[in-house]
């Protein structure tokens, strides 16, 4: 038995085949992976490399030798969340209060420009553009209490 999984990282998609005997083929490289404990996966023929993995929905968090990778996993053939291209939606990382809005619809922004300043945990948190583009929507105003995951500014 085998299953096909698509793993997505920031750079793109990787087709992975997982066999029941523990072999995993990633981008034509064969690796042995064994689940050796709760959240613990060991790699290599001698299981000498230890990683820790946690899943939340399609998200896979992997800890390997001090680096952390946030990946998405989908069974092949399942509809994947579309990776937006040339379009960006910025939201608060946590519940926060809007202190200032620095942009308005139609404005041009460069990657790194401050769009909105939030306050949470008694600290000011700037929300910056992650891409160059034109602001299409601004959905917050000073004083708003905003929730994570809800778009504050959209850039096209």
């Amino acid at each position: 038995m085998e299953r096909r999984v698509i793993i997505t990282d920031e750079r793109g998609e990787h087709g992975v085949t997982v066999f029941d005997d523990g072999r995993v083929i990633v981008d034509d490289v064969a690796i042995v992976a064994r689940i050796t404990g709760p959240g613990e996966v060991r790699l290599g023929p001698e299981s000498s490399t230890v990683t820790w993995v946690a899943a939340s929905g399609d998200i896979r968090w992997v800890f390997l030798n001090g680096s952390i990778y946030e990946l998405e996993a989908h069974a092949e053939g399942r509809r994947r969340r579309r990776a937006a291209s040339g379009h960006s939606s910025l939201s608060a990382p946590m519940p926060a209060t809007v202190i200032r809005v620095e942009v308005s619809p139609g404005g041009h922004v460069r990657r790194g420009d401050t769009l909105v300043i939030l306050e949470a945990m008694k600290m000011e948190l700037p929300i910056r553009a992650d891409t160059d583009g034109t602001v299409t929507t601004v959905s917050c105003k000073p004083g708003d209490l905003v929730q994570p995951g809800v778009a504050l500014v959209e850039i096209e």
Binding site: T51, A54, I68
Partner: protein
């Protein structure tokens, strides 16, 4: 003055640290919690726990009335404030004194005097401790602050007159950027301390931050427990602390510790405190300037405990009960090197934004010379309301190189998943050539941001591990039965003890 029952007016790792010290001293401990912390680990570390209010700290951990009421309701006789929250609040210390509670820290009058940057500076200058040139502008308008800055000469640092912790603090390098930075500093000062008064001082560019741990008792004894170098900071928030400082020569160390003891004596200091200095230059000619006094136990106190082998919290109880310091200056020696890394729920790649959420996986490393002070558990949540410090890792070894190597090895076995943390960032930081050689200053992180933040390509091992645990699962792997790749029945319980 003796007491049997201590209320711990704090949360997280420091509340757990204090509860542990209570047990060792055979004292009863009482934890307090807000609604966001109902099941938090610190509530279980103490003998009992009592609710003090809703989630926002202003109505719970920062509420003098709520804490005093909790102490009364539980018949506590003493209060340990930890750090942050009410620990440096003179009003709270005097409210404790009025309520007949022993405040485990310096007297309210000492906190008040040292808490005012202006009064503290004047006191230190009169005691012969060197200070950085600076003023609290009498005209607090943007123009008044600018004029004060102009007199001192750019660059300057503006900071909240009322508090510390980096809140309301901004470096201003020229007139052009000044207005926005002054407004931001004032807003943060009002939000954090309810007081927008700003202090302006000459900015010592790229200084080192070196502080001296002091301890006094009510019998007039004052000792120092050597220095801690805390130069690795971000927005004036310390991230890595170590001792001995790689920058201090013996003559400078002698002068600095002597100045710290003189400062504590001038202030009539009692209990644990820290005298912070900025260090400029190097070698025997290095100059240091008084920065401020932290009138409480420090976050980084484990560095000193590891280096000297002494128990600072235990000594706080002794001194608060009216006893003599358990050590004279001659008893206090140091051995090897200790380095602490603060592990924060924050996203270094995303402007270091604090993170909140559920810890899907959290496993602490252990081993000789590795101390973890933590306030979280696997499956627990990190609330949005408080400081995002999750844990402190302190590594101790015979040399600085060995301590760094030990800290690195431990961090590489410290998986925290489900919330972004600064663990990978700390690894790159400790591994940096300039860190390893001890060439650090307070702008180290800004100056090396590119090298410290560059993301690495995902290795095939990480992709394989992600695929191995199955797709489309909503459960965390610790709740899952291992798949058929496992033939050893013991494998299913392996890892429990970690």
């Amino acid at each position: 003055m003796t007491f049997r029952r201590v209320l711990i007016a704090n949360r997280g790792e420091i509340a757990i640290r204090i509860a542990r010290a209570c047990r060792e001293a055979d004292l009863e401990s009482i934890a307090v919690y807000s609604d966001a912390d109902r099941d938090a680990p610190h509530t279980r570390a103490a003998d009992r726990a009592v609710r003090i209010g809703p989630a926002p700290s202003a109505q719970s951990y920062l509420s003098v009335d709520a804490i005093i009421e909790a102490a009364r309701a539980t018949s506590a006789q003493a209060v340990h404030p930890g750090y942050g929250f009410l620990s440096e609040n003179a009003t709270f210390a005097s409210a404790c004194e009025r309520a007949g509670l022993v405040f485990i820290g310096p007297p309210a009058s000492v906190i008040e005097r040292l808490g005012s940057k202006v009064a503290a500076r004047e006191l230190m200058a009169s005691a012969g401790v060197p200070v950085v040139p600076g003023v609290t502008a009498t005209d607090q308008s943007d123009g008044g602050i600018l004029a004060a800055a102009g007199q001192l000469g750019f660059p300057v640092l503006v900071k909240a007159s009322a508090g510390g912790g980096g809140k309301g603090m901004r470096a201003i390098r020229d007139r052009e950027s000044a207005k926005e930075l002054i407004s931001a500093a004032r807003r943060e000062a009002v939000a954090a301390f309810g007081d927008g008064t700003l202090y302006v001082e000459r900015l010592i560019d790229k200084p080192r931050h070196v502080e001296v741990q002091v301890f006094g008792d009510t019998h007039g004894n004052i000792v120092h427990l050597f220095e801690r170098e805390c130069s690795i900071q971000r927005r004036h928030q310390k991230i890595v602390e170590e001792s001995p400082s790689p920058a201090l020569t013996e003559p400078v160390r002698a002068r600095m510790t002597e100045a710290a003891v003189a400062a504590a004596r001038a202030a009539g200091y009692v209990n644990a405190g820290t005298i912070e200095f900025l260090l400029e230059g190097s070698g025997d000619d290095a100059r240091f300037y008084f920065l401020e006094v932290n009138t409480r136990l420090q976050v980084e106190h484990p560095v000193t405990e590891a280096l000297t082998g002494l128990d600072l919290v235990g000594a706080q109880f002794t001194v608060a009960a009216g006893g003599r310091l358990p050590w004279t200056q001659r008893d206090i020696t140091r051995r090897g090197h200790a380095i602490e890394c603060r592990i924060y729920a924050e996203d270094p790649a995303g402007g270091f934004l604090p993170q909140a959420g559920t810890l899907l996986l959290y496993r602490e490393p252990a081993g000789p010379g590795v101390r973890i002070d933590s306030g979280v558990i696997e499956g627990g949540t990190v609330p949005v309301h408080y400081d995002p410090l999750l844990a402190k890792l302190t590594a101790t070894a015979q040399s600085r190189d060995a301590a760094i190597a030990r800290a690195l090895a431990a961090l590489k076995r410290f998986p925290i998943l489900g919330i972004r943390t600064n663990v990978p960032f700390l690894i790159r930081l400790l591994d940096h050539a300039d860190m390893r050689s001890g060439h650090v200053h307070t702008r180290f992180i800004e100056d090396h941001a590119v090298e410290l933040l560059t993301a690495r390509e995902t290795p095939v091992e990480a992709l394989a591990a992600a695929a191995a645990i199955g797709a489309g699962s909503d459960t965390q792997p610790s709740a899952r039965t291992p798949t058929s790749t496992v033939s050893d029945p013991w494998a299913t319980i392996r890892g429990w003890g970690r």
